[in-house]
């Protein structure tokens, strides 16, 4: 090195990093200190109660495959609920995402109303939807599917509309300059531009739906969850392990398929 480079002095960032770390630690300590309004965490309870659960976990390592024939139908139902729920929510989510995003819906009032409704929708837990819908519609797969649609819409419309908000939308100006209505512009140009984000979120919602619909049966909303509730009630933890294993396989298969599809989107 013959020439001496005059490198500008590197800005000091560590005091800031330390400060942020201290704030995070202090906040965490407060949340677990009951005297300061935090939650009470009794680590001794783990030692006192450990053996109750350990016994059940131990049972789960002796899978009871006699349950298998009874699982096929509810497992298929769970899978079907997930697919139908995803399909219905996907069909509704694309127009609603356009409605909820600023570039595709410049009208602040209608956009605000939809966003408020979606916030309420996301605030309600899925099991609450399922419980209410079972009471309104009756026991079976239908209340489960409606629950999944409501849950998916909250997630997909939020994430896709945020993707539209942050994407470059210079083509909008061209559509306006050509005298297009907002619907025309959205249909012909915004929709294809939004497609990768939308398809990716729909695939993700399919993955989530299999997990959620496995639980919905607990409140009578169809699927494998009803069987889970039954074997748990009879303390058949070996059978429970088999059912959990089956759900795991379905979830992994769907993840593999959606990963393959997602790669093709680019």
């Amino acid at each position: 090195m013959s020439t001496e480079l005059t490198v500008p002095s590197r800005p000091r960032t560590w005091p800031r990093t330390v400060l942020v770390a201290l704030v995070v630690v202090a906040f965490t300590v407060v949340t677990v200190t009951p005297a300061l309004g935090g939650i009470r965490i009794d680590l001794g309870a783990i030692e006192r109660n450990w053996h109750f659960g350990a016994h059940r976990v131990g049972q789960m390592f002796h899978p009871d495959f006699s349950i298998l024939p009874r699982t096929w139908k509810p497992l298929l139902e769970t899978f079907e609920m997930a697919v139908v729920g995803t399909a219905v929510s996907a069909a509704l989510a694309l127009p609603l995402s356009m409605w909820a995003a600023r570039p595709t819906n410049p009208h602040p009032v209608t956009r605000g109303v939809l966003r408020a409704v979606l916030n309420v929708n996301r605030a309600v837990p899925d099991l609450v939807y399922a419980t209410i819908l079972v009471a309104m519609i009756g026991v079976g797969a239908l209340p489960g599917i409606v629950t999944l649609v409501l849950f998916d819409l909250g997630v997909v419309v939020k994430l896709v509309s945020e993707a539209v908000d942050s994407a470059d939308a210079s083509y909008m100006e061209a559509g306006q300059a050509a005298g297009g209505t907002q619907s025309q512009i959205n249909r012909l140009t915004a929709a294809p531009q939004t497609w990768p984000a939308y398809a990716s979120q729909v695939l993700y919602s399919l993955e989530l739906n299999v997990r959620i619909s496995a639980v919905l049966g607990l409140v009578g909303a169809g699927g494998i969850g009803r069987l889970i509730d039954e074997v748990r009630g009879f303390y058949r933890y070996g059978a429970l392990a088999v059912i959990i294993g089956e759900i795991l396989i379905v979830v992994i298969l769907i993840e593999i398929v959606s990963n393959v599809l997602r790669k093709r989107l680019r």
Partner: protein, 276 residues
């Protein structure tokens, strides 16, 4: 796929001869919400079929001026008349009708990159199509013919089913010109159409614009910041500085002194395409 213009609905049917419109700005001022001025008391009268360069540095009000003509930028005071329309009074449907008669191309092309070239050019047919037809994807024969004829006239018909994002910059700008042509416009606006292109491509696109002016007889307003392009391709030049009109005269006789007046500084090598 080849497009045969001699089929039943040829280009004559798809693109009927449409007379160019005059553009008249009277004492136009544009004040942006942040308090800055885009234009101050600008009056310009462009005859039907003229090809006019609007010249100035960035921030001089060029973009604002052409955007008042199709109502993309609302004027604060003054009048903008385009053919039979008084732009300031237009809202909703009537505003879209005016915009349908005014084609526009942009520096950044403004294509939807993930959509096909066909769909991008079909954007130019919006004002000719009812919304339900667009929503259902049911373009009429006339719409399709207008798209194909426009692409053919800029030499891009072989790319009609390509994705717009897969094209080069020059190709994208040609598709954007086709999009504007498929509107069958009376006036063509161009906002720095060659600023993102390399010199040979820039000349090709400027030639396309001049051909549109001479062959279709369209009124053309083109924003430029390079003096040699303005001299070479247009007949009349309007100079803007700080939102005010500082020159209006023949492009050919605009010498370096005129450009120094417009730029408000001595001429630099980067003010021409050849040396930039």
């Amino acid at each position: 796929m080849t497009y045969d213009p001699s089929t039943t609905n040829g280009p004559e049917a798809a693109l009927p001869a449409s007379g160019p419109w005059p553009v008249r700005l009277t004492d136009v001022t544009v004040r942006y919400p942040n308090g800055s001025y885009g234009l101050r008391g600008v009056s310009v009268s462009v005859e039907p079929g003229e090809m006019v360069a609007v010249v100035g540095l960035s921030g001089s009000g060029k973009s604002t001026l052409v955007r008042t003509i199709n109502g993309l930028v609302p004027v604060t005071s003054g009048e903008v008349e385009v053919g039979p329309y008084a732009v300031r009074q237009l809202r909703g449907r009537r505003l879209r009708q005016l915009r349908g008669s005014v084609g526009m191309i942009f520096q950044g092309f403004n294509l939807a990159d993930r959509a096909s070239v066909y769909d991008n050019v079909l954007v130019g047919r919006f004002s000719h199509m009812p919304t339900w037809r667009t929503m259902l994807g049911l373009a009429t024969r006339d719409d399709r013919d207008a798209v194909m004829e426009s692409l053919s006239s800029v030499g891009m018909l072989d790319k009609v089913w390509s994705r717009a994002g897969a094209l080069s910059g020059g190709q994208k700008q040609r598709v954007a010109i086709a999009r504007a042509l498929s509107q069958q416009p009376r006036v063509m606006l161009a906002d720095e159409p060659v600023a993102s292109l390399d010199p040979p491509t820039a000349h090709a696109v400027m030639s396309d614009l001049r051909r549109i002016n001479t062959e279709r007889g369209l009124t053309v307003l083109v924003n430029l910041h390079l003096m040699d392009l303005a001299r070479q391709y247009t007949t009349r030049m309007i100079g803007l500085r700080g939102g005010e009109l500082v020159y209006d005269g023949p492009a050919a006789s605009a010498d370096d002194a005129v450009f120094e007046e417009i730029y408000g500084r001595p001429i630099l090598p980067r003010d021409t395409l050849e040396s930039s």
